[in-house]
């Protein structure tokens, strides 16, 4: 019971920390990576909340597809700015 509680609190703290860093970090590429990390932590949270369907959808759509879309958008950004 206590181990569970500690794990939940730790996971919630990690979620908030990754969200905060996503918003605050100056480098946009790092922000997207942190967002994907946030998505994976959220997947864990859904598992803890006995919601495996959401965990699966979050991992695939929330973190995966959204992350890929964002990374691709940054790719364009860098491609335009470098040369």
């Amino acid at each position: 019971m206590n181990v569970d509680l500690a794990f939940d609190l730790l996971l919630a703290a990690a979620l908030l920390w990754s969200a905060w860093r996503t918003l605050a970090t100056p480098d946009i590429f790092r922000a997207v990576i942190l967002f994907i990390v946030f998505g994976l932590l959220l997947t864990l949270a859904w598992a803890r909340l006995a919601a495996p369907d959401i965990a699966l959808a979050e991992a695939a759509i929330g973190a995966g597809l959204t992350g890929a879309l964002l990374l691709d958008a940054i790719g364009v950004l860098r491609g335009r700015k470098k040369p």
Binding site: D53, A60, I61, L65, L71, D72, G79
Partner: protein, 214 residues
């Protein structure tokens, strides 16, 4: 100035929310009990799938509409002149290609499994569609599938099929008395039909959101 005002307001509001959470009485309506009581006539064994496609299937129908709508906007607005995305150009390395060749068949298998499993346990059209989309994106990143440009009628048909079939089923069931009123005997088969077409269309749409953009 505005910045600190927003931050202070946000913090106060979060505190108010948390205080409100902590003294909530138990809910008066027990909806999970109603779900359990009606599982037998819902056509599936998995409660989340039952809610998603039967009890609140109307929400899901509209949500597929939202997704299709987003795709239509992407098609209308995305720049027509193809800019070769550097992420794609640099990614066509042999390791990724080999990985894609191994992973994609496994992903297809996983999608079929998820679709079939959805009736009884975790899984269903959404997860299956997401895996299909991920497979397409992986192929694209490995340089094995080019980005899509303007889709022809057959591709548009594939993108819209899931929504159209769902819509047609919903309308046809009006003969049973109400929109989306599955007759218990047919519920399982109809839901499987809807889910199977949805999985394919969702896969195409989600992949399309990525591939039409890049």
């Amino acid at each position: 100035m505005i910045r600190s005002a927003v931050v202070i307001l946000a913090a106060l509001f979060a505190a108010a929310l948390i205080v409100a959470f902590l003294d909530l009485p138990p809910a008066e309506i027990d909806l999970p009990a109603a779900v359990t009581a009606n599982m037998a006539i819902s056509g599936v064994d998995h409660p989340v799938t039952a809610v998603l496609l039967n009890f609140r299937g109307y929400d899901t129908l509209l949500e597929i509409g939202v997704l299709l709508l987003a795709l239509i906007v992407v098609l209308a607005v995305a720049p027509r002149e193809e800019v070769a995305a550097p992420l794609v150009a640099s990614a066509a390395d042999p390791v990724l290609q080999t990985l894609a060749r191994i992973a994609v068949p496994l992903m297809l298998l996983a999608a079929v499994y998820l679709l079939w499993a959805g009736a009884h346990q975790t899984g269903g059209a959404f997860q299956a569609g997401a895996v299909l989309a991920a497979a397409a994106v992986l192929l694209h990143l490995a340089g094995l599938l080019p980005g899509w440009s303007a889709p022809g009628l057959s591709l548009r048909g594939g993108l819209a099929a899931g929504f159209l079939v769902f819509l047609a089923v919903a309308a046809a069931l009006l003969t049973e008395g109400a929109l989306l009123q599955y007759p218990p005997a047919w519920a399982g088969a109809l839901i499987l039909l809807v889910e199977a077409t949805l999985a394919v269309s969702l896969g195409l749409i989600l992949a399309g959101l990525f591939l039409f953009l890049s």
